[in-house]
Assembly symmetry: C2
Homo-oligomer: 156 residues x 2
Amino acid sequence: MLLSKATPKSERKKALDEYILKKRLKSTKQRDIIFDEFFNYPGQHVTVEELYEKLKKQNPKIGYATVYRTLKLFKECGLAFERNFGDGRARYEPVKFEGEHHDHLICIGCGRIIEFANLRIEQYSRGVAKLNDFEVLNHKLELYGYCSSCTRGRDK
Amino acid sequence: MLLSKATPKSERKKALDEYILKKRLKSTKQRDIIFDEFFNYPGQHVTVEELYEKLKKQNPKIGYATVYRTLKLFKECGLAFERNFGDGRARYEPVKFEGEHHDHLICIGCGRIIEFANLRIEQYSRGVAKLNDFEVLNHKLELYGYCSSCTRGRDK
DNA sequence: CACAAATTGAAATTCAATATCAATATTACA
DNA sequence: TGTAATATTGATATTGAATTTCAATTTGTG
């Protein structure tokens, strides 16, 4: 269920509304606010904390639990993706459209994260999925190592 | 710094001892016990809790914190790898030898984890690393979706 | 409108991860 | 070998993100 390439936001909203309808949930002001903030968030992979702080500025009454629950909802309906970089806090990002999915180079020296476009993984995963009778919706590719600055500073 | 293909365990022990020497740490009985248990653990990706329970049977005095700290040590010296499958607990596994690194198909329906051998990622990551002036030591590839049982049971 | 059901926000709870600290074990070195 | 210096251990306490609880409120249905 990858989203089509052409439609950025309204398509997402539609997907959310459909999910809410299907599951007999309810549309609320808070969900709309969080939706807008999350899908317009400039940085990649935001934490609940960060999003919460950002939202509170415009909307002081919003609760942390609501942000938490709403991101979980986005995750459930396939609009968001949760990552873990090993710092003990989950990070969320919008699910990418087909073709623009990106992956990560993670420096274990300084923690720097470099994103790179993925060219062959989609195709590779299709093959693996077929072999295992598996329907692949998403993937995570993370390459761990040392960035240029950290390689140089290292002994051994 | 991938470990050579031929030597399974003594090479690992050597690597650990070297690290301990270099960092002026100390060899202890507990570290040896945990080393043996961890690198002979039958299942993949063990949690601290699981390893601790297993160890306690033979060695009731061993402390949870020691297991935790020792796995962290293994991680530091590049012998172990930490994964997160999203259930809130970190999982550890021995770093694989070159060529036998495996990756995961993760079913978001039932949580089943299928491992598969990786054929092209090594080579792919070499290219990406070069482009970004990055030294890649390890990687994580996880494909998320539905396994055959779960695909069938799903609406939509 | 009125009822049933879901959501919210604040606060409490949970639980894995991590820190603390006195007792003990290991290493370095005289 | 013995002793001082230092790291480690294990029990326990603490931390902090994730999750639950619950009364008040909001939303959808008829």
